[in-house]
Symmetry: C3
């Protein structure tokens, strides 16, 4: 407790994995041991993020009700062990987990220090058992009503898959349509696999929702959350978001991840509920344990990463773990307090320094949000469908393409939201939608209307190809976007990554020749103008980048995977050039939060050298020093500056 | 239909995967929907290749009779899904598939437009279930009569495998003797695995045969086929060929395959029934969907590949698929008619142009065959045995070695047949038999007699090692070929591919030093003369290439894996130098078809530049233009020329 | 038999895999066929190493009692096939195997030619079946007494693994806590997996012990052995050694293994019972069959490898196999007698020459042993624990680190024993203990006492981290060794192998800057002095190599993985410089054996050139020529010399 205080800790999450300690058999519960912990924490004045402990069912329960245990992709029922290993559709899991939550709510709900309820932990439990297969049938009945509709949606005439009864449905897995192709899960029936992904995301959500309802009923005013994991493919977080009162997530950047990827993940998480701040629920004080090699965070990096979260909308900086455990697999994952047991370590001292700073300036930041003119369309269903697709290339990855567009914005210090294709698009000046392969007619109309009414769309190859059932839009690519884009894509060629063609400028707005690879659309103009053309191959001199005026707006199309310089150029074209308020050197990250009264400008120096920010003379307050600054600040190596300005001064 | 006509389509294959649509439960059949299709096709005057639709059993059947579903190499029973997924020894499959075929024959057999019956589709369904294990026992009883014979053939004294009863037999799989070693299936008991391969090839054949008998009985004069897949390891096509009235196959060259590999596959397929043309049953109009990346065929490539088939003996050019489907996993596999729905595409236009040409010149070609002086010995049993072998090297691949010999012939414009070791060999001047590891005494005698009577044999390291049970021929390598070759191989050394020794000329017929790797036989001369010797290592200066006069013939031996120049040299030595009728530049493929009355000479320009063919002045007719040519023709880039000459003019 | 004599064979091992031939059903045994073999061998005067034939149970037994068959890591029960495939805890296996041994002992035990009994063969049969799971519970009951103790030792509060009953225990496997990560087996619960490793090693030992007791009771004076496999991770040979009367092992150096690795393995095997010679039970005369490529041993290599065994303590040179079998998977594994059937081969002649030499000089060698001043601490439990650890790096391998230290000693011609951390350490001047991650307090005390009393310890990063339950020693790294080493390791950084820092000399005893990678301890001095410091990164200029005086001894610590030059330097520092009796050129291996009366000095020339050994003039006898030599001998390329000197001459 003393060290907590030294470190500026003011909230703790618990008890995350204590179900087994709470419940020793079907009817026996044990809370006394935990009462003492709660009392101590309450006495110390710490806030509590109360976790429901349902992420791992007890060993005895797994033994007695083996159906709780999930069946894996290859059809093998697991035995007790590991983490988050239960079938999401298990009746017994549902019964026992809700019963536990009821008792936790009853016993601890009144504790005034509880600031949040935290359900489960990093949900991640797809299953392929018989119960799931049966529930999948119910899911499909609800979605398709009749078997005929299902046959049509799934295109079962292919390879003799016609179904006559709901009973004929088989959960797709490694024993049926799917296989693991060196880490990429592939399928011979995209629509079946896609529906199973929808079903699994929903099944797991139902586990969350069952607990949510109990807590909400008893304490409607305490926000409820569960910790998300960024771009986590198995679960469609956008679908869950309405029932997450405050988004929280666990940020564990890979050792070699560039800074922009971390920010991109924060932006996605913030965008799940974009009018509110989120919580950084977990990060490591220094090293992790699960990677191939686990580097220490270099001095200053932990603070820098903490402020990335804050700059992009987090109202908290929380850590896993407080004290390094001495056993099991996370004992070499950093904690604030190391195995040595005292606070005289670099890691503790950096955390304590951060805690002090946040305690000083936190109130000026919390509650502010981001407001952006640019959005990236991001759709989990598209992620699944695009990467289940058989052809044109297994090297095509949704995130890889999207990251290049994000990076272009990041380098230009332009804030970005992530939105789904069915969002209200009109709030944004520019929408970027890379490889929007799966696109329903409804969502296509949403986009078309957006452009017609003055918006700018930037999209790419492999967009508008299939509908929500992964059935090709007839009438030529890019399907419902053909008119909007003013082009017809006759062919989509594919070559191995690293075999390059080039995009050669035709219009002066596209500034220089760049390389492109992976996918090569052969494009016919149907109203659009050419910005760049191919440099070689049988489609030499045909369009590779086009722009079309449509209604009051514009629609740009990129027919091949450009190198970053080319992406930077098309992004610049899509957003229009305007001078930034600040002159920001490269590798200094910029982000802005605001509310009705004030603006906060964050500058994070990702270099190991001093950097200067300049601007036309206007007064800001340097939040850390509380001094006025005007036209110039200096950033220390890995330094952080936050400039505040009251809006009524404008 | 209009587009079919435009494209010159005159035959269609159907209904390949319609079992589920035909049969909705054990007794209910539905043919009316198909009657309409057949009527339309018949009315349009199109020929029909009538497929029996038995490649995928219906979902309801798989559910009701789960024993129909195969068990995989790791012992897991599959669930319904994917393609060609039934146990070949399933009684229920047999019952239901033959019942369907009986009804199709009865209902549609009289249709005059049916030109072929097409059974199943790309058979490929090894299984490891209990039923297969039991049938394997029957197979072995038939082959070996007594358990003692089996123990001897399998060499079961090794590792305590002695069997006392047929009941002791276990189907070899990943749960017993075998494992998957990075894609290479390995085994600790070669003879067991080899017999299982024989058994599986035969079991699957029985599926085909059951349908064949029904159709043949009803319509003895309509040719029956099933679509093969070239060098497809799991099935010994030579064993099936007597019951395939006309060979047909599906040619899908890999994007990076050199042209000669495609021709090699055509030659194998033609050789299955070498006195008759075959059918190119499937090829893609442009791109496939299942590869890592799926390139479009460049302009001209599809026509070139079509004529490769024709030049090597095909009497048809058929495509999969006519119309690009809009769902499931082959929706991005090219079709004549694309998703756009009209014929105004490059791919359609190339197909239509080809169709027109074939309609014009087809009659001059069909029915002609190839007659060759050179044959390559190719044996599926040897393929299995050589690659199941534990030692000397897992990098040794049968096809890789053979391809080098084929390529030498291809470059020299020499036609080649593939034959089995038990064929009549005397028809050929030269027989090339790379790595003929498995060789029964009977087949060895066949080869010895062939050479004695004047033939030339070219063989290599790892030949004559084991008999048909994978038991080593005693008395020193290369076993029964030792006398014929006039050598004794004392040791076989092996080094990783790419660690080179060299073959240095000793006899002037071997022209220059070449590199060699992988396998290094240490050879003692027993009558043969040395053509080349090793350049280094402890066997420096000992023979690596030898030639032996035997009876009226010659037998050459290559003791290491030579680089292509060396292969070219030994192939030249084995066939003897003779001037070709035509002067053919490199990368122009040549092939010849003929019948009693005429010769057809095919020239395929695989380059993107103009090429000339010259010859001593003789008149030919250029088949396309129907003009006389004499001594000179020019080939367009990727161009095709066919010269015809009536034999009575000679 | 004639060839045996020619080859100098004087002992044969049999019948290794004959259980199936001995026993045809539950009650029928057949020994007559074997009587004849034994008679022939006895008549020929050959000694017998009598094998109990229990390595593979008969096929009929596997069929009748499928529970004998093991269940693999993924939970699949195997079927009969392969080798050494039985569950070690199978009751039926136990019953039938001991019954067979009883009969073999009764029938053949009196044969005077039996020199050794040889139980099983290359034991290697982990299992994950229900019976094993149940026996694991008994094993744990015995080890931990109460479930509370178990919960504590396994740290089950982590991830909700608390157990309430012995029944809750699950055998750890690919279905629970573990997975195969590209060949490295990983676990989320180190302590569970570690106990399972202990349990499996003990279970398999019990198979051996059951047979041992029967033989020992009947023939207490005939030594009993089983053939080990060097650094074989699944079995803790040190635990077995007390019940192995004479250690024997099978040496199959990989084709690319440097010579020192073979010697290292011999040294480990010898050290299992370090006061006695061991037996080289198997080696191949030339090539193996199971590798990716199987090279022949170059001329001279087989003899050189044979003398490596002898030089490091073997009293035998035995081969697998006498005659190359003609079937199954080892038919391309070399034999003394090749498939050709005569002795006129290079391989046979080399063996015969060796046999002759050994018959001449063997008596002077057998019975002598090694006495060394230096030992390497090697602990199987540490091997398991270190490589099960989650963090800091999956690239850290116990053997890789240890081999570098062994190599430094090998190059310096310094003999070394392998000892366990609970051994009597005082016999050694220097003890080298790389990455001694798992170290109980008792064993730590043993080491501390050793240094206090004058010994020298050289240890490295990742030492003293956890106790025998894989629970972290509290109080700062390196735990119980902190005082001894006079350092505190605050952080352990990790970077990918090949990303280098450097160790820069601070003390003149560390001679030159070297590279280091993989692990980087951040070290605080607590009494130790710095020998070298880091050259870069945030811990630049902090200590990387330290030395601490402690009691009458010294303790050196290496905080990062040094390149070989650095290892050579710290090893030299740890043993102290002293001039060797002989001047030994590089790549000539030296080893010494001795007894009360004499010394034998072995020199093995691993180069292909002549080498000279010189020394200050003292008389030795060249054992081969029986001549006196003084101050100088010459070694042929790949040559061997053994110098003998009677101790009473000193």
């Amino acid at each position: 407790m003393k060290l907590f205080k030294e470190a500026g800790v003011n909230i703790v999450t618990l008890p995350v994995f204590s179900w087994a300690k709470f419940q020793s058999d079907e009817t026996s519960y044990h809370f006394q041991w935990f009462d003492k912990i709660i009392d101590r924490i309450t006495d110390a004045g710490l806030s509590i993020c109360f976790a429901t402990s349902t992420a791992v069912q007890p060993a005895w329960m797994s033994r007695k009700y083996p159906n709780i245990l999930p069946v894996d992709f290859q059809g093998n029922r697991r035995k007790f062990g590991g983490r988050v290993k239960f079938c999401p559709n298990s009746k017994e899991y549902n019964k026992f987990s809700t019963k536990l939550v009821e008792q936790l709510v009853e016993r601890y709900g009144d504790n005034k220090n509880i600031k949040f309820w935290h359900i489960g932990n990093e949900y991640d439990n797809w299953c392929y058992c018989e119960k799931c297969e049966n529930d999948f049938k119910l899911f499909l009945k609800k979605r398709y009503k009749t078997v005929d509709n299902l046959n049509r949606a799934w295109y079962t005439s292919f390879w003799g898959h016609t179904l006559y009864s709901w009973d004929d449905i088989v959960a797709p897995s490694g024993l049926t349509e799917m296989w693991n192709d060196n880490g990429r899960i592939r399928t011979t029936f995209q629509s079946i696999s896609l529906d199973y992904a929808r079903f699994m995301s929903e099944s797991i959500f139902n586990c969350y929702k069952a607990e949510y309802d109990i807590i909400k009923k008893a304490y409607p005013n305490i926000p409820i959350t569960t910790n998300f994991m960024g771009f986590f493919k198995p679960i469609n977080y956008f679908k869950w978001a309405p029932y997450i009162d405050i988004i929280s997530w666990d940020s564990y950047p890979g050792v070699n991840d560039p800074a922009y990827l971390t920010s991109m993940r924060h932006d996605l998480m913030r965008s799940l509920k974009k009018d509110r701040p989120f919580l950084l629920m977990e990060q490591t004080p220094s090293q992790t344990n699960w990677s191939q090699f686990n580097s220490q965070k270099r001095p200053g990096d932990m603070a820098l990463q903490s402020f990335q979260a804050v700059a992009h909308g987090s109202d908290s900086v929380m850590f896993f773990q407080l004290r390094r455990s001495i056993g099991a697999c996370e004992k070499f994952h950093s904690g604030l307090i190391d195995h040595v047991g005292h606070g005289n370590t670099r890691v503790f001292k950096e955390c304590a320094e951060l805690g002090k700073l946040l305690n000083n300036i936190g109130d000026s930041i919390t509650g502010t949000i981001q407001k952006n003119d640019v959005a990236i369309l991001f759709d989990w269903e598209n992620w699944w469908a695009l990467e289940y697709s058989s052809g044109p290339s297994t090297q095509l990855e949704y995130l890889k393409e999207m990251e290049k567009y994000y990076y272009a914005l990041f380098k230009s210090s332009i804030g970005v939201d992530f939105i789904t294709p069915d969002s209200k698009l009109g709030e944004y000046k520019t929408i970027i939608a890379p490889t929007l392969y799966l696109l329903s007619n409804e969502n296509a109309l949403n986009i078309i209307t957006y452009v017609k009414e003055g918006g700018t769309l930037l999209t790419t190859f492999q967009s508008g190809i299939v509908d929500e059932s992964d059935t090709v839009h007839p009438g030529g690519y890019p399907g419902p976007l053909r008119k909007l884009l003013g082009i017809w894509v006759e062919e989509t060629d594919s070559l191995p990554m690293g075999v390059y063609n080039s995009a050669i400028p035709v219009d002066p707005s596209f500034k220089k020749e760049v390389k492109c690879d992976l996918i090569f659309d052969v494009i016919h103009l149907e109203g659009a103008k050419v910005l760049a053309k191919y440099g070689s191959d049988y489609y030499q001199n045909t369009p590779v980048i086009t722009e079309n005026r449509f209604g009051s707006g514009r629609a740009l199309y990129v027919g091949s995977s450009l190198e970053q310089d080319g992406i930077d150029n098309v992004v610049e074209l899509s957003i229009g050039l305007k001078k930034h308020v600040f002159n920001i050197p490269s590798n200094v990250e910029y982000s802005k939060r605001e509310d009705e009264n004030k603006e906060l400008h964050f500058f994070l120096n990702h270099t190991g050298e001093h950097r200067h920010i300049t601007w036309d003379q206007v007064n800001y307050i340097d939040l850390t020093s509380q001094k006025n600054v005007n036209g110039f600040i200096e950033l220390e190596p890995k330094g952080i500056k936050i400039l505040l300005r009251n809006k009524n001064e404008f």
